[in-house]
């Protein structure tokens, strides 16, 4: 799955690192480093992190059916 964190918004609360430690990790006191493409087996953890982030900084694809994956290539809707 794909993940991006809006690090302007992120306040380093580390909720995500607590809930999905193999995807999100604090680097130093408050800088966040994350895996932008965690394995699908991590989906449940990642979705928990998305929900728990107090500033809603985490975007994932396909979360809760609202954002759906889109294929790339000439066939995509063309």
């Amino acid at each position: 799955m794909r993940v991006v964190v809006d690090l302007n918004r992120c306040q380093g609360y580390a909720q995500c690192a607590f809930l999905a430690p193999d995807v999100f990790a604090m680097h130093g006191e408050e800088a966040l480093l994350y895996d932008a493409r965690p394995d699908d087996t991590r989906r449940a953890d990642v979705l928990r992190a998305v929900a728990a982030c107090p500033v809603r900084a985490i975007t994932v694809e396909g979360a809760g059916g609202r954002w759906t994956a889109d294929r790339v290539g000439a066939s995509d809707g063309a």
Partner: protein, 462 residues
């Protein structure tokens, strides 16, 4: 409100073309669909990859924590777009409303959005730039090449230019326990973006982490061995340094060459547009069907004296793309201005650096919270008696407060005392920006254009 017929038709069955399929292009495309555009959407991008995120390239990707090529951006929704990836746009005919591609084909549009961003400024000497071991870092391909070389364990890495990207690369090298030298023409790292006072702190961080930092020098030449591999660098102070890898981090140039002769106001400083993201033509008249967003755009901002800002900031690309997309399919009275307050982050040497506003417009700085010597502080920047920016080292929580001060054009220094204010925060000092007429590696924010600078504004974002 009823839309006029032609706009209604555009929204329903028009053709919108986006040139530059990266962060701004993708977010704009999503917004178009989100807001009900059902016509044809074509995404043209010269990189062969679907839109991916760049900030991780100089951080988790270079560190080896995330594999190269694994930073594709999540989609917020289905796009139903035609993708023309690996195809550069080479010309724009505004009269015919047509974009020509490198493969000789062309695409006609009803509305065009240009999000072609910037590229790394290459090492100026072409022969030297071609040496094996000389790199830049802007794209995922660049990252792949560089990370492969770092993994091989070079005896020394030279980073040329200590802006944000250069400093982040140096930080990664130290984490990988590679010997690294940083050469910076200015007096300190980050000086162009954050000024000399904060640059001092950045220099301390580099020393603390064992970077061989050399400021006030220029790299004058890169020397190869018989096989065309980089072996040595020469400095303006006469020194020579053996290095197997050199990363050129001398800022970026705007991808506007393809617009030469198009009649758009496009040049090395970007494409000028109004606050509604409509591109200016060379006559200074805004176009109604060509829009601009992201790193390639320069647009006026009322908070900063209506000067034109070019921002190489992730958050700006997203915000401006959303405004541009909205305006492309909205009637005049429903259009919105792009009045985003500049925001930026960087992670280096384990420190979370964040800035808000436009620091490099400032004349003074005051440490409002914390202490420079602890490398944990928030400092406000002042320009002609008002708060214009703030920067935080591992104190991101304060920035929202300063953002509000900036948006309200609050006086500088702030008249009240704040929590955790130390003696060093009692008096503002000169911010120490280098003379803007002397070129640096690029502050990542460029302010240009004339303005009524004394004008005071009260800024209340919608």
């Amino acid at each position: 409100m009823a839309l006029d017929g032609s706009l209604e038709r555009l929204r329903r069955e028009g053709h919108i073309v986006v040139v530059g399929a990266s962060l701004a292009g993708l977010r704009a495309a999503e917004t178009l669909r989100e807001e009900g555009f059902t016509g044809t959407l074509t995404m043209i991008g010269d990189e062969p990859y679907e839109p991916y995120d760049r900030p991780p390239l100089s951080k988790q990707v270079l560190l080896g924590l995330v594999p190269v090529g694994q930073t594709a951006l999540p989609r917020r929704r289905t796009l139903d777009a035609r993708w023309r990836l690996g195809a550069a746009a080479t010309a724009l005919d505004m009269a015919a409303k047509r974009v020509t591609l490198a493969d000789g084909t062309s695409v006609e549009y009803d509305r065009l959005l240009i999000t072609t961003g910037v590229r790394s400024r290459p090492w100026p000497n072409e022969l030297e730039a071609g040496l094996d071991g000389v790199f830049v870092l802007r794209t995922t391909d660049d990252a792949a090449r560089l990370v492969g070389r770092l993994r091989a364990g070079p005896r020394r890495v030279l980073v040329i230019g200590a802006g944000f990207t250069g400093s982040e690369i140096a930080s990664v090298c130290r984490e990988r326990e590679l010997p690294v030298t940083v050469a910076e023409r200015g007096p300190a790292p980050l000086v162009g973006a954050l000024g000399g006072v904060i640059g001092e702190v950045a220099a301390e961080l580099q020393h603390q982490y064992g970077v061989d930092l050399r400021c006030g020098v220029m790299v004058t030449g890169l020397e190869g061995d018989g096989a065309g591999r980089l072996r040595r660098a020469h400095f303006s102070d006469g020194a020579a340094l053996d290095a197997e890898v050199a990363v050129v981090a001398l800022g970026a140039t705007r991808n506007t060459e393809w617009l030469a002769g198009s009649g758009l106001a496009a040049g090395p400083r970007g494409i000028a547009c109004d606050a509604g993201c409509r591109a200016f033509d060379v006559r200074g008249i805004v176009s109604d069907d060509v829009f601009v967003a992201g790193d390639v755009a320069r647009s006026p901002h009322p908070l900063f004296g209506y000067q034109f800002l070019s921002l190489e900031h992730w958050g700006n690309a997203v915000a401006q793309a959303e405004v541009a997309a909205h305006n492309m399919i909205s009637p005049g009275e429903r259009r919105r201005p792009h009045l985003w307050t500049p925001y930026f982050w960087s992670a280096q040497f384990g420190v979370n650096i964040k800035s808000v506003g436009v620091p490099n417009m400032a004349d003074q700085i005051l440490v409002g919270q914390g202490s420079l010597s602890e490398h944990r502080f928030t400092a406000a920047y002042g320009y002609q008696g008002r708060v214009i920016a703030a920067v935080a080292f591992d104190q991101a929580k304060w920035l929202e407060f300063y953002q509000r001060q900036i948006e309200q054009a609050a006086p500088f220094p702030l008249p009240f005392t704040t929590v955790d204010r130390r003696t060093e925060g009692m008096r503002p000092v000169p911010a120490g920006f280098p003379d803007p007429s002397v070129p640096t590696h690029g502050p990542e924010v460029t302010v240009s254009g004339h303005s009524p600078t004394d004008q005071r504004v009260t800024f209340t974002p919608a």
